[in-house]
Amino acid sequence: MSEGNDVWQAATARLFGQLYARLWLRLEQLLGSATTMNIIALSTEALQDAYPFLSRLTWRPQGLELATLVQAIADEEDPHVQAGCERLLQEVYVLVETCYGQALALQLQSEIEQLRHACDPAVSPSTMDSREVTTPPFETMEQALRMLHSFGQQALTLYRQHRNTHSVLEQAQCELNAWRQTASSIAITSAAAPSTPTELARSETFYHDLFELSPDGVIVTDTKGDILQANARCAEILELDSPSELIGRSVAQFLVYPEQRDAFLERISRSDRVEGQRRELRTHRGRTIIMVFSSRLIEYEGKSCLLSVVRDVTERARLAQEMEDFAYSASHDLQAPLRTFEGYARWLLEDYGDALDETGRQLCEEIIDDALHMKKLLDGLLEYSRIGRLHTQPVAVQVEAVLERVQHDLQIEIFDTKARITLPETLPTVFYPEVRLTQIFTNLISNALKFTAPGRAPEIGVDYEVLPRHYRFPVRDNGIGIAPEHSERIFEIFKRLHTREEYPGTGAGLTIVKKIVESHGGQIGVSSTPGEGSTFWFTIPKTEDAS
């Protein structure tokens, strides 16, 4: 990556980081720290939801301009992403509104000006710190919005300045790195440069509160895993009385599988950040707990260190396990009476068929038919409960090989329907449990083969797109399509849009696919035009982080 891009990345990160930090500070003054933390959490979620959208936005000429952002969001096809964007946008408005008319608005605005200034790589670093107020304060809401608008245009100008010298993808990544910074981690780095002594005191108190009140564990370690700093929640998770008992100890002491640490350190040294990791820990008192954490490399007291946020998910994992065990046992126990229904109805037909009239025999046939259908429903439930129960290990999988096997498995259906399936020239290698990826594609392709329009041979296209952090696989068909009002319902278990006579099946398939995709850090959705066809898509994280 060239120097210009580095400057761009640093400037944008700084801009957003400081802007956010100021806004949080102001909010904290107005609302108190507990409410502010809720908003930070919401904002982080909204940013993550908006992420796929933002990644595509950078490819468009309008860049980050705020007014066109609204239009672009309105044009967004994926409802989930759209909702995330709208929340994000809503937040920007709320924040501006909250600040408007307040004493801090002046300061905020001057800082944004400075940040805009700092964002321009042509300006030398020394001028960044000359905090001159060059524009008057906000008088109206419109002014505040105009302010943000021009800020957006400034970012756009910068974007255009650099687009000729770097690949679009690299730029997209840089921009997104900035957008994606979670509020809390940005706050920590940008708190280093407050403008007045009182504010310094304020921001230190604020971040100290944030650190101590956090419902998640926050921990700083050196690059060998020795603990330098930890908050109270961290000690609580590990069943220690005080965080001071953690300082100086090695994280490895608490890992049930200490060898996982080396691979983790190796990866974070490559990518600076690792997210959504799951580990089993042994607490001070010897209890095994499950936690997820995200880490990133930071500068701490002049050294390169690891900042991690740790969440205890033991209880959540236990409840999920209980639910799955219940579904598993229930589906088993329900099979026993089914065997009787099916067996006895057949028995009646075989040995007493002559004693029954036509209606009587028909009723027996229908009992058998329904018993077998219920067996399929139970199999679906069983399969659904197994996704969480059986932990399948992610491995490097060639998507092309998976699709070849799926086509082989479905060859009878493909032959019968005279379907044509087209694949792109190249397909990536992903890190995923192979059997699960096979299940996803088998389900989506067999649906495309099943829900065909009369008199039209299925044409199915599988493709892929590279997003900043995910691969996205669309599976397109020319089938009967789905009305928009049903696009959520089809993912619910046993929900069907057609009778069994029209299209056979149980309605469990897409639910299973959705659970697989989501439990491996991806998303799934559909866009469709009734009568013309549907495109189901799902995403897979590029690294093994989310698995």
């Binding site: 088993h332 099979q335 065997r339 009787t340 099916e342 067996g343 057949r346 028995w347 067996k375 059986l390």
Partner: protein
């Protein structure tokens, strides 16, 4: 050769009826002895209580064992029979609705000779019973019942 005996350990009377019918349909003419739980199974093998008469309760050549039994579960029955030097040679075939991998592994660990799933569809169940009879009662050589 004396008639071969199969001991069916099954608590659900409807499953018992279906198994008897499947034996009949598969034309397996073996004597099917039925006990309803683990305690009865052990009493049968030990010739205790109502199973004292050898002609009425002959030694089984093969045991068909359901896992989901009241009180003493199928795994426990399996373990006890396989640990008893007098009975450990008797082939035990687990016949169950549970496809749970833990159940399968545990059953083989305790010495089960085969693990079969009961299909819901009766015609397929008959096929399973037929294959089972053809193999365990007609194909393999079994030690004589003591």
């Amino acid at each position: 050769m004396s008639q071969q005996t199969v001991l069916l350990v099954e608590d659900n009377p409807r499953d018992v009826r279906l198994t008897q019918r499947a034996f009949k349909q598969a034309q397996l003419t073996y004597e099917l002895q039925v006990v309803r739980d683990g305690d009865e199974a052990l009493a049968y093998l030990n010739r205790e209580g109502k199973y004292q008469e050898p002609t009425e309760s002959p030694r089984p050549n093969v045991i068909l064992l359901d896992l989901n039994l009241p009180r003493m579960g199928g795994h426990e029955v399996l373990k006890r029979v396989k640990q008893d030097p007098r009975f450990q040679y008797i082939p035990i075939i687990v016949l169950t609705t549970s496809g749970r991998s833990d159940d399968v592994r545990l059953a083989y660990e305790h010495g089960a000779n085969a693990y079969l799933l009961k299909p819901v569809e009766f015609t397929r169940f008959t096929e399973v019973v037929e294959q089972l009879g053809k193999f365990w009662l007609e194909t393999v050589e079994l030690p004589p019942a003591v």
